[in-house]
Amino acid sequence: MFLKKLSIAAAVTALAAGAAAADCTNTVPVKTISNAFPAYESMAAAMQACGNVTSELDKDHRLKIVDAFSANPSLYSMTSLTNSTSVPMIDADLLRPLDDLIAEYGQGLSPNQFIKIDGKVMAIAAFANTQHLMYRKDILDDLGLAVPTTWDEYIAAAEAIQAAGVVDYPIGHYFMDGWNLAFVFVNHYLGEGGAFFNADWTPSINNEKGIAVLERMAKLASLMDPEYLVSDTTFVTKQLQQGDVAMANLWASRAGAVNDPAESSVAGKIVMAKALMGSEALAATVWWDGWAIAKNIPDEEAEAAFKMIVASMTPEEIAAHNDDALWLAPGFTPGDAAIGAAETFASGMAAPYPMNKHIGSMHNALGAGLAAYLTGSKDAATTLADIEAAYITDAKEKGLLQ
């Protein structure tokens, strides 16, 4: 039985490879490095089917790509990039402008996919991601609650659910100490219309808006499982799947998993909705994920690499992996899981996550400093003042601030 399964699996793999190798045959060796998760796995597989492509799927790729692309010739032909990982690559001028290649081979791509810096296309976005509301329709309907659209409504609904005793802790949120917790602050602060920096890059988060965000975070924390400081995206996904929480604000890319019958005991009951409003904008940021090609490689290799990018985003490929991500390339049909993201994007009120040097340092300082407020060892103003001080020290050491 087991052996039979094995051989079937092998046969299926072979078939898939044969089918995809339609007309993208590649003769120039191309080496890729990318983050490791299903959307990249499917793109890497599509590229490999064309031949002569070696793909590295590496969770730690961001620690390696700057050095790897600085080598001459570059260790890889192309890499995956996001809003934030693109910054050091563009700073060190390690990416090849793609305009000429797009003109020649990129007709199948959508112009919306082009990441342009000063008019030059430096990367091709493959899919987008954002954060939005996911809620248990059955619970909200039973209690006669409307779907919340703002954070105040969300908190009110959560309190109602808790009062009704449906679940112990009505909401889940990725409050894990470090990057996640800082990211929550970043989103909410942008939702309040806050700006992180003054004109001279000195910090400006210790204000009413910052304090309002902290107070809201504390309010949210009080409605969450007390282990919220270790709750990352996977933890929140599991809370939703196991019916432990009634609502969550989560990454759009998890919308498929929460209703996956193999993992979820409440499959089909969770509905997606638009991200929640802060007082001025949605407390959500838009992220793109895509590919960029190294500068330090021969033109021939760059050309082959670009063809591979195109081959990984044909309408057939996108259709075959439709639910792996919110694809930007033509051929994507948003399903039920994509409703929340689609509405969030369509509103035009979710900003892209900033692409500048200073936000990295600020995000770090927030990640290290916010927990002290939630654990109660500092008050809001002290927390924000300490974070500003930590940012100044850090930015000065990194040369970002004079």
Partner: protein, 384 residues
């Protein structure tokens, strides 16, 4: 053993064995538990009710499982095989293998036995049970949910075999190089009474204190750009150190040297100096004395030290995850890769299955070398 000093009152016996039983439970429980989890569907594996995790009702509905008959027959077969391995196999090995070459016999015998066990459990037993289960009525219906799907996903779909091979290359490389270099140094340090030797040891120990993350982050840019800065020496063929298993072997050997030379030095100090001095009087050089007199008697200590090197290399995460590329990735960072931005509950159970898989070779290793560890340490590998 029966000396009066070892005779104990009943109370002490009870307390001491009770403590031992408790400790064994504590020591084995987490490992046994993740093994159980690795055979269940994600919903069952992370259930808060332990009975449901063991029985796995949802796994049973999806993927089937074991009937009482399966369990009884499986246990009987396992018991028979263990009896065979303990009682019958040693005799056969002794009778059939050439005199003085028992280890060949053990290698062949063990290999054949392991293969037979594998075939019995994966082919013959399932086939027999496939016929018997429908006939056995209630005894033949599945009671415990069990799925090997996660293991298949790890080893087949995720290509874990390649990671396994890479781990073996790195680990064996580290053990061999580390012992070769460390044995020489340990012997040198043991036979030199100078203060210099002592301070060398202390400095090595302080080196051991440097946080590995700092070391590795320091190597990374040099390893990646090595074809540029090595070009003046090697010309066109200058290698890129990043991603090369042998470069990682060198790093791990160096990181592990302080511990290795410390252990081997203590061990050599317990080999009487008269032995090699006698050889020296007979006109041997230091190296000849080392080769002829010390090497034959050093194996207990070397095997013990080697096991520690093995553990370090096999379990290393920081060095291997940063300095190896995907082609040469070893098992531990490969498991860490499963916890990525989009980790699902299924990924987590697969990571558990992978974690159990990588523990299995360690099990075997300790089973085989258990006696050597203790005797090596007894022989003085750790005399402070």
């Amino acid at each position: 053993m029966s000396s009066p000093a070892n005779r104990q009152p009943l109370g002490l016996k009870l307390v001491s064995n009770g403590f031992l039983a408790l400790w064994c439970l504590v020591a084995a429980f987490p490992i046994v538990w993740i093994t159980v989890m690795s055979f269940k569907s994600p919903l069952d594996a992370f259930d808060s009710n332990p009975i449901r995790v063991i029985v796995g009702p949802r796994t049973r509905d999806i993927a089937g499982g074991l009937s009482i008959l399966d369990i009884v027959l499986g246990l009987l077969l396992a018991w028979a095989l263990i009896r065979l391995a303990l009682k019958w196999l040693p005799g056969q090995v002794r009778a059939l293998s050439p005199e003085g070459r028992h280890w060949i016999g053990w290698g062949v015998g063990g290999g054949v036995f392991a293969l037979a066990t594998l075939i019995l459990f994966t082919v013959i037993l399932p086939a027999a049970l496939g016929v018997l289960n429908p006939l056995a009525g209630p005894l033949g219906t599945d009671v415990i949910g069990l799925t090997t799907e996660h293991y298949r996903a790890v080893w087949v779909d995720r290509g874990f075999t390649r990671n396994f091979a890479n781990s073996m290359v790195v680990t064996c490389g580290v053990v061999i190089v580390s012992l070769t270099v460390g044995t020489l140094a340990g012997y040198g340090l043991a036979r030199s009474g100078s203060s210099f030797a002592f301070w060398l040891l202390v400095v090595a120990l302080i080196f051991r204190a440097l946080p590995h993350s700092v070391l590795v982050a320091g190597y990374l840019p040099y390893f990646i750009s090595s074809s540029e800065w090595l070009a003046p020496i090697f010309g066109e063929s200058a290698p890129t150190l990043y991603g090369k298993p042998w470069a990682v072997i060198a790093v791990l050997v160096a990181i592990n040297q302080p511990f290795t030379i410390w252990m081997l030095r203590s061990f050599f100090q317990n080999i009487p100096q008269e032995l090699d001095e006698a050889a020296r009087v007979d006109g041997c050089s230091h190296f000849q004395a080392f080769w002829r007199v010390i090497v034959p008697v050093m194996w207990p200590g070397v095997i013990t030290t080697g096991l520690f090197s093995f553990l370090l290399a096999y379990n290393d995460f920081l060095v291997t995850s940063l300095l190896l590329d995907a082609q040469n990735m070893t098992m531990v960072p490969a498991i860490a890769n499963m916890f990525n931005r989009e980790t699902t509950a299924s990924d987590e159970v697969q990571a558990i299955a992978a974690a159990v898989s990588i523990t299995a070779p360690l099990f075997l290793l300790v089973m085989v070398f258990q006696r050597q560890i203790v005797s090596g340490l007894t022989a003085g590998a750790v005399k402070g």
